[in-house]
C-alpha cells in the first residue's frame, strides 16, 4: 500500500484492475468495512447524527443532516423555518467545501499536468488563492453555523443546540460576498480545460422538488429517462449488489449503472437555476453524456451555491433566527415503534437514511445508501467504454485516462464502504 497501488487523489482506497489482453476492467474497492448500520443499532436516536457524520470527513454535514431528517421523520418532529434555512446554508457550504477540495486539489492536477494540488500555487497563483478563499469561507460558514465543519456539534433533530448571533451572521455575510468573484474564477478555470471525450449512455438521477434547484428538500427522485418516484420508494429505484472484489456494494437501477452528483443535478434541475448560471451550462457546452464533465458541473454548482449561501445569509440577517430554532425536545422517543426516512443531495448525489426507532428511543434498524454506492456501477461501465474506445492507443496513456475518469466521478470510497 506504500506504492501507488491505489488510485491516487480520490477519497479512499480503490483500484482499477485492467486485463489489457481482454480489454476488460473492474473497479475494486479495498476500504475496510466499518459496519455503521450495525454500529448504531441499540443506541439512542440522537446518537445517530453524532455517529454517522464519521462515515465521511469530506461530506459529514450531508450525513449529519440526512440522519437528522430520518430521526425527525421517525419522531414526527417539525423543524422551524429558520432551522431549515440554517441547514440549507450548511449544506450549501458543504457543497462548496467538497467541490473545491475535489476540483482544485484532486482533479485539477490532471488537467494541468501537475503531480499535486499543492503545486497549483506556483503555476496558477490567482486561481489557487481563489481556491483557498473558497475553502476558507466555506469552512467559516460550517464552523459558525455547525460549531465545527468536520463533524458538527450544534445540530440536532428538531433544531439547533446553538445558533449564531446577528453580528456573527453579518460578519459571515461580509466574508461570503468575497466568494462571488472566486466562484466565477472557478467556472472560468474549469471551463478552460480540454476534457477527454467518451461516448456513454449515462442514466442520471437527482432528487428534485420541481420549484427550485433543490438539494436539501427534494420530494421525488427523477431520472433523465423520464422516471419520477417518491423518495420513500428509494429502494425501488436503487438496488444494491455485493461483488466479491469490493467491500462496497454496487448500486444499480433496473440492472444498469446509474450516475448521481453534480452532472446529474445540472441535467435534471439546471432549468431551475438563475438565468446567469444557466448561461454557463450553455456557454461551456456541458455534455451530459460525458462523465468528465462532472468536473465542469461541479464548478458551475460552486458558483450557484455561493450565490445561494449569500441569499440565505441576507434573509437570516433581515428576519432574524426564530426562537423555535433552539427549542429542542426534552427527549427523543416516539410513542410507538416508528420508521423514518431522511434524504438529501450530498455533494456526490442522493443520500438515503432509513431507521426504525423503538418507544425507548433506541434504534432497532438502520439502512444507509450513499451516492458513491450508486455511482460505482456507472463508473465501471464508463471505464469499460473508455477502454474500448481507446483500443490500440498507448497503454500508459489509457491507464492515466482511466484514473482520470474515476477521479472525475469524484468517488468517495469511504462513503461507499460505511
Amino acid at each position: 500500500m506504500q506504492k501507488s497501488e491505489f488510485i491516487t487523489q480520490i477519497e479512499g482506497h480503490g483500484s482499477l484492475n485492467v486485463n489489457w489482453d481482454k480489454n476488460k476492467v473492474t473497479l475494486e474497492v479495498h476500504e475496510g468495512e466499518r459496519l455503521f448500520e450495525g454500529m448504531v443499532v441499540g443506541r439512542q436516536a440522537e446518537e445517530l447524527y453524532w455517529i454517522t457524520p464519521r462515515i465521511c470527513g469530506v461530506c459529514p454535514i450531508a450525513h449529519n443532516l440526512a440522519a437528522i431528517k430520518a430521526v425527525e421523520d421517525a419522531l414526527d418532529l417539525k423543524p422551524s423555518y429558520s432551522t431549515i434555512l440554517l441547514r440549507k446554508l450548511l449544506l450549501d457550504a458543504q457543497m462548496i467545501q467538497s467541490h473545491v477540495l475535489h476540483l482544485y486539489f484532486l482533479a485539477a492536477p490532471d488537467y494541468l499536468g501537475l503531480d499535486s494540488g499543492l503545486e497549483i500555487i506556483k503555476t496558477h497563483p490567482v486561481y489557487f488563492q481563489q481556491a483557498l478563499e473558497l475553502k476558507r469561507v466555506s469552512d467559516l460558514i460550517t464552523d459558525t453555523i455547525g460549531g465545527r465543519g468536520i463533524h458538527p456539534t450544534t445540530t440536532a433533530a428538531g433544531g439547533f443546540h446553538k445558533v449564531p448571533s446577528k453580528e456573527k451572521l453579518k460578519k459571515l455575510k461580509n466574508e461570503t460576498e468575497k466568494l462571488l468573484e472566486a466562484s466565477l474564477g472557478c467556472v472560468s478555470l474549469f471551463s478552460s480545460f480540454d476534457y477527454p471525450k467518451i461516448k456513454t449512455d449515462l442514466i442520471l438521477f437527482s432528487q428534485i422538488n420541481g420549484n427550485s434547484y433543490e438539494v436539501y428538500d427534494g420530494k421525488k427522485i427523477a431520472s433523465n429517462k423520464g422516471l419520477t418516484e417518491a423518495i420513500s420508494n428509494y429502494k425501488k429505484v436503487i438496488t444494491e449488489e455485493v461483488r466479491s472484489y469490493s467491500t462496497a456494494k454496487f448500486g444499480k437501477h433496473e440492472g444498469k449503472g446509474m450516475m448521481v452528483g453534480a452532472l446529474a443535478r445540472l441535467s435534471l434541475q439546471g432549468g431551475l437555476l438563475k438565468r446567469e448560471t444557466q448561461q454557463f451550462i450553455e456557454k461551456t457546452e456541458v455534455n451530459f453524456q460525458n462523465p468528465f464533465h462532472n468536473n465542469l458541473a461541479q464548478a458551475i454548482e460552486t458558483y450557484h451555491f455561493v450565490h445561494e449561501a449569500n441569499k440565505i445569509l441576507e434573509e437570516l440577517i433581515k428576519t432574524g433566527i426564530d426562537p423555535k430554532a433552539t427549542d429542542l425536545p426534552k427527549e427523543y422517543k416516539p410513542e410507538r415503534i416508528s420508521c423514518g426516512i431522511g434524504a438529501l443531495e450530498a455533494p456526490r448525489g442522493g443520500l438515503y437514511y432509513e431507521i426504525e426507532v423503538d418507544s425507548d428511543g433506541l434504534i432497532v434498524h438502520c439502512n444507509i445508501i450513499t451516492p458513491t454506492v450508486q455511482n460505482l456501477t456507472s463508473m465501471e461501465e464508463s471505464a469499460q467504454a473508455l477502454l474500448e474506445q481507446t483500443d490500440g492507443q498507448d497503454r500508459k496513456k489509457r491507464s492515466e485516462l482511466l484514473e482520470m475518469l474515476v477521479r472525475a466521478y469524484d468517488p468517495c470510497i469511504t462513503c461507499s464502504v460505511h
Partner: protein
C-alpha cells in the same frame, strides 16, 4: 523528533479505514499547510499527490484504524521504515468510532449487511498501538488544527512533543460554558485530555472523550458524580463512543454479553 540535517525531512501521510476527516483538517490548514509543506518533503500522500515513495521516512502520519490484514501488514512495514510515527485522529489513536463494533459481533453484521456469501476483509477496529509502537498520538475526531500545527512544529524542531497536562474542563471554563455536570448531563470532559478547546460542549454537544484519557484521569471520582444522576447503562454509552477499545473501558464495563450482540 527529527534531527536537524541539511536535507529536508521526508514526511509521508497514510490512511487506513476511516472517514479521512483528519486529512481534510490538514488541507483546511491552507496557508499553514503550505508553510509546513515547505519545510519538509512530502514524499507520499495518496489523497493529494501521485508521488509515492516507498521510504525510509523521517516522519509518518497515519490516520485510521488498521482493520484489514493488508492494513495491519502495511502498518508493521511502515513502522520499520519510519523514524517518528504519529497516529492522527481518534481512529488511529483509540480505535475511535469504528471501534464501537466488537470483534465478536462483526460476523453477525457482515451477514446482515452483506449477506451469507460475502468474504469480509475487516478483522477488528483497534488503535495503532495494538500492533506497533507509536511515537506520538494526535487525538481528536477530528484532530484540532492548532494541535496538529503545534505537534508538527515541535517534531520538525527536533523536540519530543508532549500531551496537554490538563483536562477538557480547563478549556471549557475558558470558553465560558456552563458545566454539563451541574445540569445533570453526562460529560467525559473531566477525564479527557485537553487540546480541543472544548469545541463539542461549546456547540451544545456532550464530550465523549475523543482526545483520549488525560494523565491520572481519576475515573472513579467522575463515576461517583455521574452515578448521582445517571445509571451505568447511560455512562457506558458515553464511554463506548470513542473509548471502547481502551483498557480502561474493558476494566470498567467487562460484561459477558455485549450490547451490540443483541438484536
Amino acid at each position: 523528533m527529527v534531527k536537524k540535517t541539511q536535507t529536508k525531512p521526508k514526511v509521508a501521510i497514510f490512511d487506513f479505514t476511516d472517514c479521512e476527516g483528519c486529512e481534510v483538517v490538514l488541507i483546511s490548514l491552507r496557508n499553514k499547510l503550505l508553510e509546513l509543506a515547505g519545510e519538509v518533503e512530502i514524499v507520499n500522500w495518496r489523497l493529494v499527490q501521485k508521488r509515492a515513495d516507498e521510504g525510509p521516512y523521517d516522519v509518518v502520519l497515519i490516520e485510521g484504524t488498521p482493520v484489514t490484514r493488508r492494513e495491519i501488514d502495511a502498518l508493521k512495514y511502515l513502522r520499520e521504515k519510519t523514524k517518528f510515527l504519529i497516529g492522527l485522529g481518534s481512529c488511529a489513536t483509540l480505535g475511535g468510532i469504528p471501534g464501537i463494533i466488537d470483534k465478536e459481533t462483526r460476523s453477525l453484521w457482515y451477514k446482515k449487511i452483506y449477506g451469507e456469501e460475502y468474504k469480509p476483509r475487516g478483522i477488528d477496529a483497534l488503535p495503532l498501538v495494538a500492533y506497533v509502537k507509536v511515537d506520538y498520538l494526535i487525538h481528536g475526531c477530528p484532530v484540532e488544527k492548532k494541535e496538529v500545527v503545534r505537534v508538527m512544529e515541535e517534531v520538525l524542531a527536533g523536540r519530543f512533543p508532549k500531551g496537554r497536562g490538563y483536562s477538557v474542563c480547563f478549556e471549557c471554563k475558558i470558553a465560558g460554558n456552563r458545566c454539563r455536570l451541574l445540569d445533570k448531563k453526562v460529560c467525559l470532559g473531566p477525564i479527557t485530555q485537553g487540546g480541543c478547546g472544548a469545541i463539542c460542549v461549546s456547540g451544545g454537544s456532550p464530550c465523549y472523550g475523543c482526545f483520549g484519557l488525560r494523565d491520572s484521569p481519576q475515573i472513579d471520582n467522575l463515576l461517583t458524580t455521574l452515578y448521582k444522576f445517571s445509571d451505568s447503562e447511560e455512562v457506558e454509552r458515553y464511554f463506548s463512543m470513542f473509548l471502547k477499545k481502551t483498557p480502561e473501558y474493558a476494566k470498567l464495563f467487562k460484561k459477558s454479553k455485549k450490547k451490540n450482540a443483541k438484536e
